[in-house]
Symmetry: C2
Subunit: 255 residues, 2 copies
DNA sequence: AACGTCATTCGATAATGTCGAATATGCCCC
DNA sequence: GGGGCATATTCGACATTATCGAATGACGTT
């Protein structure tokens, strides 16, 4: 780990959290001298990764991140291949769909289809949810046992009163997910919202993403037809990626 | 400029351009020893800014960029305030709209409304266009004379046969933009597509973004009503940002 | 104008990052 | 499975870079 790069990344993370920060504030958060932080911020600014807030001394994330992110999404083979299938899934089920990938202790939504009822819905691409509190995340954890082990060794955050944070309970859930290749979550991330997710595997059988449908909790549990459509979607995406034996199997402590 | 951070940013830029690269390829592009590049890439990877391509030795941009970018967009005051106005502009004109900000020699689209005719259209947020070849970019250049000076000192790329790349011609255009607070572009970025843009100013009178409508070149030139709607949109956004004297004036060589 | 707070500059030096050599890994062919 | 080649990764000496404290400049408020 190159210390200067580590520190630069921590500046970005701090701005991601607090949005706008002055040099002194950043220095406090990072426990570094202001002049050190200044050098880091100026270097990031020169590359457009950080910007000064208009009319103020505070800094915020910069526009170069947007371009990089756009290229990231464009580069993702799984996303490109999933798009038509998840659109079709949303159409058939009348539900919104999400495609998620792993980002440390969270799942990040890399593609999202709105519910096809024409209602106003937020764009979710780029949103993260703690893995333990989402069906998508539980799938990814179930297929990456060492990542799960690390996560379950930490105190877990409750997002709602229904979030499961007990490691032993989660281990049982993950074992069930691994067996059924299906994860469920009811009101754990957002009250009134529940979801069910299944794994997407690449040519080598590695689970690289998960796909889910999201429904109002008033409509829970999902009908068998929805589960079948969801599985079919994951099978189709996985097949396009070169994996023909859906559902994938868990490889014990593979990382 | 901290060299290690500069090099890390250049790794990200290289991956942004070429999408997938091995260590040796990156080393060639950056003209650095492979072991140096390896250290940089591993540091970026530890923060999710770079990822290894599934099943290969090559690296690509990483998911942390998507989360950072999402926060960047969410943090942008001008974007939040512009959204309702540009949606209304698209509705009234029947055209797609773009809100653009400056990213070095390019304009980056930070918000986009599709043409309201229900046709299949690509999402444009995060896309960049060379400033000299876009109406949005010409507005931003006209209001930032020193940025314009720097850009016009470099050889400019033709995107289509109609792209204006002659510095003297561009200077005349930018002077006219500054005077009229309006920029036009016909087939310069994409054949068959033309646009007209106007500036958006913040509380201090600094032009921090530009807003445009895009139309098929077969419908060019824009009607007076469209221009009025566009100006009204920029005036409304600027007023929400605290600027009440639209159109803004150019401050000579202010950077 | 004065004051307090924070941003930025500067330069000595501590320590970090660099980079060449060696080793490990992956892939392809037989 | 073995061999060969190309590339990734490791290791450690040391050159160079980043750090950080002190000083100065800028900004906002009174």
């Amino acid at each position: 780990m190159i210390q200067a790069i580590d520190r630069a990344a921590r500046v970005l993370s701090s701005l991601q959290g607090a949005r706008h920060l002055g040099i002194t504030e950043l220095a406090g958060i990072l426990e570094l001298p202001p002049s050190t932080v200044h050098g880091i911020v100026k270097s990031l600014q020169a590359h457009g990764l950080v910007a000064k807030e208009p009319g103020s001394q505070r800094y915020m994330l910069g526009p170069a991140l947007l371009k990089l992110s756009n290229v990231y999404l464009d580069t993702l083979d799984v996303r490109a291949r999933a798009m038509r299938w998840t659109r079709e899934l949303a159409r058939r089920t009348g539900l919104s769909t999400r495609l998620g990938a792993e980002l440390f202790d969270e799942v990040i939504i890399i593609h999202h289809n709105r519910r096809p009822d024409g209602s106003q819905q937020m764009l979710e691409t780029g949103i993260t949810i703690p893995s333990h509190a989402s069906a998508l995340g539980k799938v990814l954890l179930a297929y990456h046992p060492s990542a799960a082990d690390e996560l379950l060794a930490k105190p877990l955050r409750s997002l709602t009163g229904d979030t499961v944070t007990d490691p032993a309970t989660l281990r049982l859930q993950l074992a069930s997910v691994a067996e059924r290749a299906l994860a469920m979550e009811e009101d754990e991330a957002v009250l009134g919202e529940s979801s069910v997710a299944v794994p997407v595997a690449d040519r080598s059988g590695t689970v690289i993403a998960a796909v889910s449908v999201v429904m109002p909790s008033s409509e829970w549990p999902p009908e068998a037809g929805v589960l079948n459509d969801l599985r079919e979607t994951a099978r189709n995406i996985s097949r396009e990626l070169g994996y023909s034996e859906w559902p994938p199997r868990v490889v014990p402590n593979d990382d």
